[in-house]
């Protein structure tokens, strides 16, 4: 095993973890800030993927299509919050069931509208070479995207009025509303943000994950597990959880096989939950 091989294995593991991080952030934000687990998260990713696919087919350049998809999914999320989530406030399990219903309704709508297979848009044909090994430039670009997402969210939650108000409303909804923060509107914005991130994930990952109706289920399994492992802190918890699970799973799969990587992923999940049943970040002092 050469140094080149190790370098390329680490690089590709990092990009695998980044993909997972991009796909998880929206779910984590909604869980961390609202205490809601959105079981339709995977289908919102799919929503974004189809939105981006359709836009590119209409001749919109890909970067713009990503923006369009993000906006459309965020808007959709806002509608879902107003029509469904808001009415189930405080009924956590019922909220999960409702989002689950939404998940399958969206899946079936996609099957009816697009059929079960659609052509992908193809990955840009650039590679990053290290010695004799190569990895797609787009995969490396995704690492950059993941880091930017986390940095952007950190900025949003600590430096903007919305972020500070959202965190206040989470800390104490009553006091927050007493000083004029409308927590119901915060929830709409937060859910829309989570949905928007899902849509963004679907769009930006389109070259890697072609849009199919069932893509949501595939992406969501690991995202759900990652959020459970991460615990309540949407940024630090999620980054740590995926840093551990994703990178370790990625390295395992590049040394042995994808199946071994997945097995490692699930095994680590179980181990972490034995040690920290409410997620690794459940006891942390830091609150973001």
């Amino acid at each position: 095993m050469t140094l080149d091989y190790i370098a390329i294995a680490i690089l590709s593991s990092l990009s695998t973890a980044s993909i997972l991080l991009i796909a998880t952030l929206g779910l984590a934000i909604v869980f961390g800030l609202m205490g809601v687990i959105n079981l339709a998260h995977g289908e919102m990713i799919m929503f974004g993927a189809y939105a981006a696919l359709l836009s590119t087919r209409l001749g919109v350049p890909f970067p713009l299509a990503v923006l369009l998809a993000t906006g459309a999914t965020a808007l959709f999320g806002a509608v879902v919050e107003i029509l469904i989530i808001r009415r189930l406030y405080g009924r956590m399990l019922d909220t999960m069931l409702a989002t689950w219903g939404l998940s399958l309704a969206l899946y079936q709508s996609a099957v009816l509208a697009f059929g079960s297979v659609t052509p992908g848009i193809g990955m840009p044909q650039m590679t990053v070479r290290i010695g004799q090994y190569g990895v797609s430039a787009y995969m490396v670009f995704l690492i950059f995207v993941a880091v930017s997402c986390v940095a952007g969210l950190f900025w949003l939650l600590t430096r903007t009025g919305y972020g500070i108000m959202a965190r206040a409303a989470i800390a104490d909804a009553e006091t927050a509303s007493a000083i004029g923060i409308e927590s119901s509107r915060m929830n709409t914005v937060t859910f829309a943000l989570g949905a928007g991130l899902a849509g963004f994930a679907g769009a930006i990952l389109l070259p890697v994950f072609p849009a199919t109706p069932s893509m949501g289920f595939a992406l969501a399994i690991k995202a759900f597990l990652a959020v459970v492992v991460a615990g309540p802190l949407p940024l630090s918890g999620t980054v740590t959880a995926i840093g551990t699970l994703g990178t370790a799973g990625g390295i395992t799969s590049s040394i042995w096989s994808t199946a071994a990587g997945d097995l490692f992923f699930f095994g680590t999940t179980i181990l972490i939950l034995r040690l920290w049943p409410n997620g690794i970040s459940s006891l942390w002092r830091y609150k973001l």
């Binding site: 205490g35 687990i37 469904i84 956590m92 999960m96 409702a98 399958l104 009816l112 459970v228 409410n278």
Partner: protein, 619 residues
């Protein structure tokens, strides 16, 4: 009080209460038989209707854990599918040996479902994973199995599990004589199995086990504070539900002769809560009603249950059910019947709640026989350097304190001094970050709550915790049952406690309808029913009238002769009547100690209560 009160209609034992609708099961089975008899003209309908009963059985497995035990599992189809596959493999290989097919497939299916559920449940409950997280895990599990089953290939004897191709040639319903049953026979077999399972489940829930499950659903913390190992009960019911789902899967395999990985698909899984919600959650028979209604609608309106736009309709249907139809068909019918009889039991918004508790007549003469441990050991509770931190907040900074038999112990201090947090460290609700807790000579720092409660540490928490939906009698009974482990003795004990508390007239009232003060008394009664040797009372006098507070004071003093009593209170007059050893806590540490009169002279204590001068650090 004369004894005729105990035999009056008001006193319903939990068995009677839960069992009052036992006839639903067999009754509906008979109704289904009669209905089916008229359908027998059409064998195809009898064949399809068999699957509805099987789906109802699958729904029952969810209702048992979700409706009765408060655990939402989205993984019931995982147990169902595994039971189906393994039951099918058993039937393929073993049916030649003897005794038809179901003799092999049903037990194997049930066992496989139970074992797999025990594995998953063991992880969830013994790690104490949160409710939401547990639901997500069960769903992730289903999705993982769905993905894995598509590529999973194995040959066991004559059975070929072919990944995407599934498992085919599962023998159908073959009787002992080796005859293949017709659709009518199949229907009768399926209905019989379902009825037997339903009646067994109903019988189980009429036992104390069922009552304890309901308590865990209503308030898991309180159930554990009474000394019940809730993990054990949750794991047991989860495994049982896995067994039922596995059994249903084995029936389904024999019914369809073929299984494919789509049995693990989310589309299939989605139907399970729909059956439960349509029929009525927590009713047990409801899932069957739901499955027949959903199955019947898709049969007569066209289209199979799975296929075409059905998933779209079901998905939207689930949203609508969750939003609007909370009680389901059977729940709504029961509500109508209950209203007709003029006995809406859980009318929380109605004016039935007494705002004052003057009806209480504490009879302390009854008390002596009710408390006191028979152990020769001198009970005591001691902490050494106890520290509890939450992120940046440290409610318990460093408390070394010992409580032993003799005078009543009181903990006072301004809000936020760490009084309640300290008690929670003693009961095990919080685990210490450092330091240790001793009970008698034993170190109990790492003991879980239920173990401490069983050893004899009882607590009435700051907010009275009662099991809302159960009546007053059952609340006391469930506490006494943990102590005695015997329904008859628990019955005698809880009647004595009712008499002592003067709550006899309200024995049949749901605890949620009691006033604040009465709930406090009930909670104290529940703790006493567990016969603690260390009794922690967190603000017991809150919400009580002057008269009641005097009774409470007397009660505490009598108790203190036999039991270590620690009282957290703000009511200084009440504390004065206790003639107590008072400990002042301040910012998570012991600040002063002495009798209340000594402490009254201490200017520093007034300072910390009023938040002035140098004893108050800036926060």
């Amino acid at each position: 009080m004369n004894s005729s009160v105990f035999t009056s209609r008001r006193l319903i034992s939990p068995e009677q209460m839960l069992g009052s609708r036992w006839w639903w099961g067999p009754g509906l089975a008979v109704a289904a038989l009669i209905g089916a008899a008229s359908l027998f003209a059409d064998p195809y309908l009898a064949y399809v209707a068999s699957s509805w009963i099987i789906f109802g059985l699958l729904g029952l497995s969810l209702d048992l854990v979700w409706g009765r035990s408060g655990i939402l599992s989205l993984g019931q189809t995982a147990f169902y599918g595994i039971g189906g596959y393994l039951g099918g493999i058993a039937a393929i290989n073993l049916s030649e040996l003897a005794g038809g097919t179901l003799v092999w497939s049903l037990p194997v299916g049930a066992l496989a479902g139970a074992l797999f559920a025990a594995l998953v449940g063991g992880l969830i409950f013994y790690s104490r994973i949160g409710t939401l997280q547990a639901t997500v895990l069960t769903y992730a599990l289903t999705l993982v199995l769905w993905t894995a089953a598509v590529s999973f290939k194995i040959t066991i004897g004559d059975a070929v599990v072919g990944g995407d191709n599934g498992l085919s040639d599962i023998p159908g319903f073959v009787s002992f004589t080796g005859e293949v049953m017709d659709p009518k026979g199949t229907f009768i077999v399926v209905l019989t199995v379902a009825t037997v399972v339903l009646m067994l489940v109903q019988a189980l829930l009429r036992t104390p086990f069922g009552t304890i499950l309901s308590c865990i659903r209503m308030n898991p913390t309180k159930a554990e504070l009474l000394g019940y190992d809730i993990r054990y009960y949750q794991l047991a019911v989860f495994s049982l539900s896995g067994a039922i789902a596995g059994l249903a899967g084995a029936l389904y395999g024999s019914w369809s002769n073929y299984l494919s990985p789509s049995i693990f698909s989310p589309q299939e899984a989605l139907l399970v809560p729909i059956y439960v919600l349509v029929g009525g959650r927590g009713t047990l028979i409801g899932p069957f009603v739901g499955a027949v209604v959903v199955g019947g609608l898709s049969f007569w309106l066209g289209g199979g249950v799975i296929g075409g736009q059905t998933t779209l309709i079901m998905g939207l249907g689930l949203i609508v059910l969750v939003l609007f139809l909370k009680r389901g068909i059977l729940g709504t019918i029961m509500d109508v019947i209950a209203t007709g009889q003029g006995s809406i039991r859980l009318n929380r918004t109605g004016g039935s709640v007494d705002d004052h508790a003057s009806s209480l007549k504490i009879d302390l003469a009854q008390l002596r026989g009710l408390v006191g441990r028979r152990g020769a050991n001198q009970p005591s509770l001691r902490s050494e350097g106890a520290v509890k931190r939450f992120g940046g907040v440290t409610p318990v900074k460093n408390i070394s304190q010992s409580f032993s038999l003799g005078r009543v112990h009181c903990l006072i201090g301004p809000n936020g001094a760490g009084k309640s947090s300290f008690l929670r460290c003693c009961t095990g609700f919080y685990r210490l970050n450092s330091g240790s807790v001793f009970y008698g000579k034993e170190e109990i720092t790492r003991w879980p709550m239920f173990k401490r409660a069983r050893a004899g540490i009882g607590i009435k928490t700051q907010a009275a915790q009662v099991f809302d939906e159960f009546d007053v009698y059952t609340n006391l009974w469930i506490a006494a049952y943990r102590h005695h482990g015997n329904a008859a003795e628990a019955h005698i004990h809880s009647e004595q406690m009712l008499r002592m508390l003067g709550l006899m007239a309200k024995a049949g009232k749901p605890a949620s309808e009691l006033s604040h003060g009465e709930q406090q008394w009930l909670d104290i009664g529940m703790v006493l029913c567990t016969a603690p040797s260390v009794l922690l009372l967190d603000e017991p006098a809150a919400g009580m009238t002057g008269e009641e507070t005097r009774h409470l004071s007397l009660l505490v003093r009598i108790l203190a002769q036999e039991v270590v009593v620690v009282v957290v209170e703000h009511d200084m007059e009440f504390i004065r009547t206790l003639d107590a050893e008072v400990t002042v806590l301040h910012q998570g540490a012991v600040f002063a100690q002495g009798s209340i009169d000594d402490l009254r002279k201490d200017e520093r204590i007034l300072d910390i209560y009023l938040g002035r001068r140098e004893h108050v650090r800036d926060l």
